[in-house]
């Protein structure tokens, strides 16, 4: 019997706002414990929530980017449960009227080789809603401690349909979602800072069946790699249980990324009854066309759309776009430079960025924003090379110099004495004659048919030219002279 897995992902993305979602104390990560609280965050007696406009803008923008339907009216509900990290012992969330419905995440699976683009799929979403984050618990031997800095941070809950079937698809989904949210300026999606969290719902069924099997919720998937590994492990576990005749239990399991194992969390002795009801302290949200339109204009091009456009507009192959596109700063840099460099030069620009710029940035441990080479500089460099004013080896040197100190490529090349001099044909002619005259052996070999013998003359010519002769012209000149011998 062959089984297929059915996977749905629930991803929580923290929205990057200055203040919290229902009160205006600052939001942030890495602050001293309990320094980002106010009476509302702590749920002191008498406090009330007030919505954060920017959080609404961000979730609507995310919804637009992912092709969701934005609800014309939505409201807030209280989700009630007791837990020490939840100050009010209810979470303000959205139950039956979420702000975004439907939507799609386009994913790209790994190709047969690293530089070959893999298959693209579209994973449908169920909904996206806005809610508030909870505080952070840390555990000691006999006590736990609570830090409420994170409590009240705006959180998007993105729920996919159970439409994925492999751990790799889940990995691709998260990668794509993450890049898209970063593109939109909605979140930094740093999983180590809890800005993106993922729970997976996994079940299996015989291949070809249409029903859904017993669902297991997998939690504590702390990195995108752990999401993939955890799901893969869980699918194997479920298949093993079924194949030896056991029954799967609907449960929540906790994944241990280091050990690569999972275990069942507490059984449902106290089944949750969230007793949802509309929050009487908050008013509904009405999203009209004007609001949506304003946000639409601020939506960036989606990553895969950009990838396709770079290919069609600039003929940039996957080897290069796969490097540029995941980093929208880098792709913006590329496009700015490519436009300035002019038609036909975009591939060269792409190569310089994907190879040389990234290498230099990596070695210097600098972010793109700190690079002293601007898109203008890079465009100018490519133009110089194309015009023959700078030869390839020299260009690499000029690039390194510009990376270190900045400056215009023409100036830097001149300063380093690397500008290719337009060749004086008389001088070139006499260097070639001298070189031929000095190497009778090579001449004889060439005349007897050995093509490669010509290379013996090039060294001395280049030496005489102090490296600044155009190799193409040197070759032409030599051949002309040799033909006349």
């Amino acid at each position: 019997m062959n089984y297929e897995a059915v996977i749905g992902l629930e991803v929580h993305v923290q929205i990057k706002t200055r203040s919290k979602v229902f009160t205006r104390v600052g939001a942030g990560f890495g602050f001293e414990p309990n320094t980002l609280t106010d009476p509302v965050v702590l749920a002191l007696p008498g406090t009330l929530p007030v919505m954060n406009k920017a959080a609404l803008d961000a979730i609507i923008k995310a919804g637009l980017m992912l092709g969701c339907e934005i609800a014309p009216v939505c409201k807030w509900d209280r989700k009630q449960y007791f837990y020490p990290d939840s100050p009010k012992n209810y979470q303000i969330s959205q139950y039956d009227q979420p702000i975004c419905l439907g939507g799609t995440v386009e994913i790209e699976l790994a190709g047969p080789a690293r530089n070959v683009m893999g298959e693209h799929k579209k994973i449908p979403l169920t909904r996206i809603h806005l809610e508030e984050d909870v505080g952070k618990l840390s555990h000691g031997a006999t006590e736990s401690q609570v830090d409420y800095n994170r409590a009240g941070t705006p959180l998007m809950e993105i729920v996919s349909e159970p439409a994925m079937h492999t751990a790799d698809e889940a990995f691709a989904y998260l990668t794509s979602l993450r890049t898209t949210m970063i593109y939109g300026g909605i979140s930094d999606c740093d999983m180590e800072k809890g800005q993106l969290r993922c729970d997976a719902n996994i079940s299996i069924r015989p291949v070809g069946a249409t029903h859904l099997g017993t669902k297991v919720e997998l939690k504590n998937l702390n990195s995108i790699a752990f999401v993939r590994d955890g799901i893969a492990h869980e699918i194997k576990r479920q298949i093993a249980v079924v194949e030896r005749g056991g029954t799967l239990v609907q449960e929540t399991r906790d994944y241990d990324g280091e050990a690569g194992t999972s275990q069942s969390l507490r059984s449902k002795e106290m089944a949750h009854d969230y007793r949802y009801f509309p929050d009487p302290d908050l008013m509904p949200v009405q999203v009209d066309d004007a609001w949506k339109q304003a946000l639409r204009t601020s939506c960036p091009e989606l990553p895969f759309d950009k990838q396709r456009r770079f290919l069609s507009e600039y003929q940039i192959p996957y080897t290069i776009t796969s490097v540029l596109v995941p980093d929208h700063g880098l792709s913006d840099y590329f496009e700015a430079a490519a436009k300035l460099a002019g038609p036909g030069r975009a591939q060269a620009v792409g190569n310089w960025i994907a190879n040389d710029l990234l290498r230099e940035l990596g070695a210097a441990k600098l972010p793109l924003g700190a690079a002293k080479i601007t898109p203008e500089n890079l465009a100018a460099l490519v133009k110089l090379i194309d015009a023959g004013s700078l030869l390839n080896a020299a260009a690499k040197e000029v690039f390194s110099a510009m990376f270190a100190c900045g400056g215009e490529p023409a100036e830097v090349a001149a300063r380093l004495g690397l500008t290719a001099v337009p060749t004086d044909t008389h001088e070139l002619d006499s260097w070639c004659r001298d070189a031929i005259a000095a190497n009778a052996k090579a001449l004889a070999e060439f005349k007897s048919g050995k093509e490669s013998a010509i290379n013996a003359f090039k060294g001395p010519v280049m030496k005489a030219a102090k490296g600044k002769a155009d190799p193409k012209l040197v070759d032409e000149n030599l051949r002309r002279l040799l033909a006349a011998q």
């Binding site: 749920a43 008498g46 009330l48 012992n89 209810y90 007793r275 009801f277």
Partner: protein
Amino acid sequence: MSVPLHFQTVAELSAQLASGKISSCELTRAVLARTRVIEPQVHAFNSFDEADSLAQAAASDARRTTGRSLGPLDGIPVGLKDVISVAGQPLTASSKMLANFVSPYDATVTEKLKAAGAVLHGRLNCDEFAMGSSTENSAFGPAHNPWDLTRTPGGSSGGSAAALASGSAIATLGSDTGGSIRQPAAFCGLVGLKPTYGLVSRYGLIAYASSLDQIGPFARTVEDAAIMLGIIAGHDPRDSTSFKTQVPDYRAEIKTRRGPWKLGVPKEYFGAGLDPEVGAAVEKAVGFYKSQGCEIREVSLPHTQYCLDTYYIIATAEASSNLARYDGIRYGHRSKEAKDVLDVYQKSRAEGFGDEVKRRIILGTYVLSSGYYDAFYLRAQKVRTLIRRDFLNAYREVDALITPTSPIPAFKLGEKSADPLAMYLCDVYTIGVNLAGLPALSLPCGFTAGGLPIGLQLIGQPFREADLLAVAQAYEEAHEWKLKYPAL
């Protein structure tokens, strides 16, 4: 015989303060002295801080000498129900759960009173978490009615009423979710106003039922109530349910709006259960308005019989959620018997909450629990729409409604505390107003043969408190009830 300072009105005292006849320190000392004498009998306060009040009074006098007086409330001792937050002061909700809680922030109404220069005097006793109609649910002991110490001053804002009636404050604030300002005002012979829902900010008010709660003033006169309302009303960006509306100069408006008005008498409010003396006093008041040229019309609010049930579903549901935060984790009482987190919750709450609070939490949790939401909460919210429609329909024909505030005068302490349902039935005339979000006030309209005050309720149209106060003023200025004081 002149009226002692502690029984005078805000209007009278502010004039004397302005003319320099008295100082705030003198007035505050008089009120504090009165408080000390009265408190052992009345127990209107959970706590009061004499040094702090006198310091505020001194600051008021200092302002006045430099010509920087802040208005009619500057230097006047005002008491706040112990559910309204004042920074640095206890905020107990009359509950063991918060017995040692000191709030770090000011409610919006507190900020407004401070900006008006009021001398904040004390934390006033109430039913625990504002749940009750007699102040017998206070964890710190009930308050007593200054007119008859064996009786309740009403609830839940019993302390606010008792303090003012007995002269331990010149004005007070309470909160009203189902009648908790109006009924104590009726029991204690005072003016008590519940504003339109959304007129006064709830930020800093310990929430009981979020969609019903409002803060409002107790005062000796309609004019004083108008002064207080003018200070506390207004949009607050920290309260998302607060309305953006123009706040008129209520005190000036009541002088210019003269009627006559069309007044509605809802027939459902004059049926079984109404004490004959109360009924007679209210009828006489209706007769007064008629004699002044007002048209009196009988109206019907057909869903009145469902008000109590609708209220007890909605209020307890919201309360069960609002009180979930009292868990002994970040503040409040934490049980010493707690071995694990579950214990912290269950035992702290069991030890911290009194019986009535527990009952309402249980009822509220039940009506929201899985499978019951549609049948109870959702249905109650629909019936609420019908209740509100009844009022708005009546207002197509009349300007305001006139009813008794309470079916009975102040009852004896202990008389109703064994049967919650009997206690709930006290609220029949006040509850519909909260469900509909309307403004309403109670003002004195007589006494029983036994000397107990009787309250007249006037119910107004949304955000038309100026009219409501004017209708009340017309009655008050023709009667002498405001000049009666308890013999205490």
